[in-house]
Symmetry: C2
Subunit: 221 residues, 2 copies
């Protein structure tokens, strides 16, 4: 089996969940092959066979064995290739990191949908709720450089891909993340100084165009 | 600090999520104090201060430091008190265990709500969807004694508390779990042979009465 067959990512360029996996692979210096899935035209047989329960990207294939669900993939990679570690070694700090990763998983993507999938009053409500979610995260970040302290870690990996969708949310919602959450905005800039992040995140204007297309298809624009 | 102050659980007797924590503490032989929360009449100051984000049980206080979200608490306990281990040591098996725990978290409780919070066609649809979820779990269990193989482990701890609500679902939905998922039904009986499980789960008829009260309060009966 060649190097490229060892680690394969079933990917979609705009998926913040797939971006998490690309960031952690880059942080660990692991070569991988990304196979783009056509989420509009139908998933590949490989995707359907690898993730029969959820039928979604990302899936990591490690020597052909599938691992599904992005936060679980990030944990798996952090265990198999332990250096540099993303999760802290202190058990309590690990539990705190998992809590915030879980909060982000439960709130941030769906919160964004409240903006870009709506118009009028529903959009205004979605914006209000999304900003409240960001403000909770801003509180969790506090005065630290990264969510875990001085170093880029687990929660940063889970959270930062969503920032590639923020420009679109700002356009649809008529607000600026920087105005409502200046510390979180500074954290985004700090993350974007890392090669692992810049090479894994798409151009935010491409995400905006992608969501504009979705809105047109659904009669929202 | 006395032994009892080391580990405190903010609890509610009918919460399947709190039951998980009681099972894992019993599996590890850890003494703890359970403090019952009045979820109908208002949460305690301690709960609100310990879990300001979700304001829900269970919360584990370990030497006064709070850990929230039941699956995260179970992982924390498994790391702090590693014997007997709930998560397997093999990284791939750990990822699989986390996948099924995550599936259960996303589907099983909400699936049950589709039955007991509804009537008529909505209840019938809820029942159909709930049975489909159980059948996915029956497939994941396969011919094994427990989800991880021969021994009671992480996924069993996450899943088995929900079985204490199944009698109520059967009464409201007019079906028998044993008829639709015989292997899962045998797995429930196997889990109920363990002291850690029997002493952590309430009498299913009490859960049924509790949900009947909820249904009356919401004009469903």
């Amino acid at each position: 089996m060649s190097k490229n067959d060892e680690v394969v990512l079933l990917d979609f360029w705009a998926s913040p969940f797939a971006m998490r996996v690309k960031i952690v692979l880059a942080e660990k210096g692991i070569e991988f092959e990304a196979r783009e899935e056509d989420i509009m035209g139908g998933q590949s047989e490989l995707l359907l066979n690898s993730n029969p329960i959820h039928k979604k990207v990302p899936v990591l294939l490690h020597y052909g064995k599938p691992i599904c669900e992005s936060a679980i993939i990030v944990s798996y990679i952090d265990e198999v290739w332990p250096s540099p570690a993303l999760l802290p070694t202190c058990y309590y700090a690990r539990a705190q990191a998992r809590f915030w990763a879980d909060f982000i998983d439960k709130k941030l993507f769906d919160g964004g949908c409240g903006i870009w999938r709506n118009n009028g009053d529903a959009l205004e409500l979605g914006k209000k709720e999304f900003i409240e979610i960001l403000q909770v995260l801003e509180g969790a970040l506090g005065e630290k450089d990264f969510f875990g302290g001085d170093n880029f870690g687990f929660v940063d990996t889970i959270a930062i891909p969503h920032a590639s969708w923020f420009y679109a949310y700002e356009q649809f919602g008529g607000f600026k993340v920087e105005d409502v959450c200046p510390k979180l905005s500074a954290w985004i800039k700090r993350c974007l100084e890392r090669d692992s992040v810049t090479k894994s995140l798409p151009d935010p204007s491409k995400v905006y165009e992608f969501l504009c297309m979705f809105r047109k298809m659904n009669g929202l624009d």
